[in-house]
């Protein structure tokens, strides 16, 4: 009889723990799951400031500006129907450039600017960085030939 009683307590404790974890998980999912938006969704539905979302689209040509500090960039993301201004502080991914696709993770500030904490750029093959254009790799000497552009 005694062991039955103890088992019941154990089972109840387990049940309480699982329900508590379930509730915790449900509320966290509701708050923390980041929805995916394109600029037109932002325009039509609106996104409340501070909520973590992901914004996807193309980096509009001619919109990329570097701030004086050298590590902040501003650009516009477009899906052809609407535009969203984005600012990002950090090192942009290697394949990030005007006209390419981008997914930005972050939140809107109160002015309606999207503050990105992370940028993911679409992948591309054979890519040479600006600084090394004009240089060639010599397979026999393992040295770079030619000079980088000034």
């Amino acid at each position: 009889m005694k062991s039955k009683h103890q088992r019941l307590i154990l089972a109840l404790a387990a049940l309480v723990a699982i329900i508590a974890a379930g509730l915790l998980a449900a509320s966290a999912l509701k708050d923390e799951a980041a929805y995916f938006y394109v600029p037109n969704d932002v325009k039509t539905k609106g996104v409340e400031p501070g909520k973590a979302v992901r914004l996807g689209g193309m980096v509009e040509k001619g919109s990329l500006r570097h701030e004086a500090d050298g590590v902040t960039i501003r650009f516009t993301v477009t899906d052809g129907k609407a535009q969203v201004a984005v600012t990002f502080k950090g090192i942009a991914p290697d394949l990030f450039r005007e006209g390419s696709g981008v997914v930005a993770e972050g939140a809107f500030d109160t002015q309606g600017t999207f503050v990105a904490s992370n940028l993911l750029a679409k992948h591309d093959e054979r890519y040479m960085p600006r600084e090394m254009e004009g240089m060639q790799y010599d397979e026999t000497t393992h040295q770079m030939k030619g000079a980088p552009k000034p």
């Binding site: 052809g80 006209g99 390419s100 696709g101 679409k122 591309d124 093959e125 054979r126």
Partner: protein, 176 residues
């Protein structure tokens, strides 16, 4: 007994998971980055010749009443070699195909075509990927179906497999 149903609960949970996975597999569109250009006219371009025995390629050659395939390839890309029999089969079926070689050199393209066959009527050389980006193509190989009015009708991402050939043919016939 604490209810027999408890012993079947894991199986039920697993079945729900499996259903979710099947659902995910059946919805592949979320994973493929489709070009925003499908349905729009082909962007204007004029490329130099990519091979020594084929003429150069320009967008003006497309809107001439007959649908054509536009294949994006590169000599350095192994899936492009793998899809060459499928392109040859499409050519045999009478479908006109043009190619754009991406970040390539003419000598390399010549060697590639000598080795794997040449299904193209015209080949353009897109040394800096600019036309590829304009087309909204994210990699090689990709194949576009361009309608007789110069609109992009369909985009096939990745290499053409043997079982894709019939689908491409049907789409080409429907476009005529």
């Amino acid at each position: 007994m604490k209810g027999r149903w408890l012993t079947w609960l894991p199986l039920a949970v697993f079945a729900a998971l499996a259903l979710l996975f099947v659902g995910g597999l059946l919805r592949p569109e979320g994973r493929v980055i489709e070009s925003k250009m499908v349905g729009k006219p082909l962007p204007a371009f004029a490329l130099p010749a990519g091979a020594s025995d084929r003429p150069a390629l320009a967008s003006a050659q497309f809107a001439k009443g007959k649908p054509r395939l536009l294949n994006i390839f590169a000599s350095w890309c192994v899936p492009c070699a793998a899809e060459s029999p499928q392109l040859m089969a499409l050519k045999q079926a009478g479908i006109p195909i043009d190619g754009i070689a991406i970040r390539d050199a003419r000598g390399d393209v010549d060697r590639f075509l000598a080795r794997y066959g040449n299904p193209y009527e015209r080949i353009g050389l897109d040394a800096r990927s600019s036309v590829q980006l304009d087309l909204g193509s994210s990699g090689v190989p990709e194949t576009f179906l361009i309608g007789g009015d110069g609109r992009i009708l369909h985009q096939h991402i990745g290499d053409l497999r043997a079982d894709d050939v019939a689908d491409i043919m049907d789409r080409w016939k429907a476009a005529q």
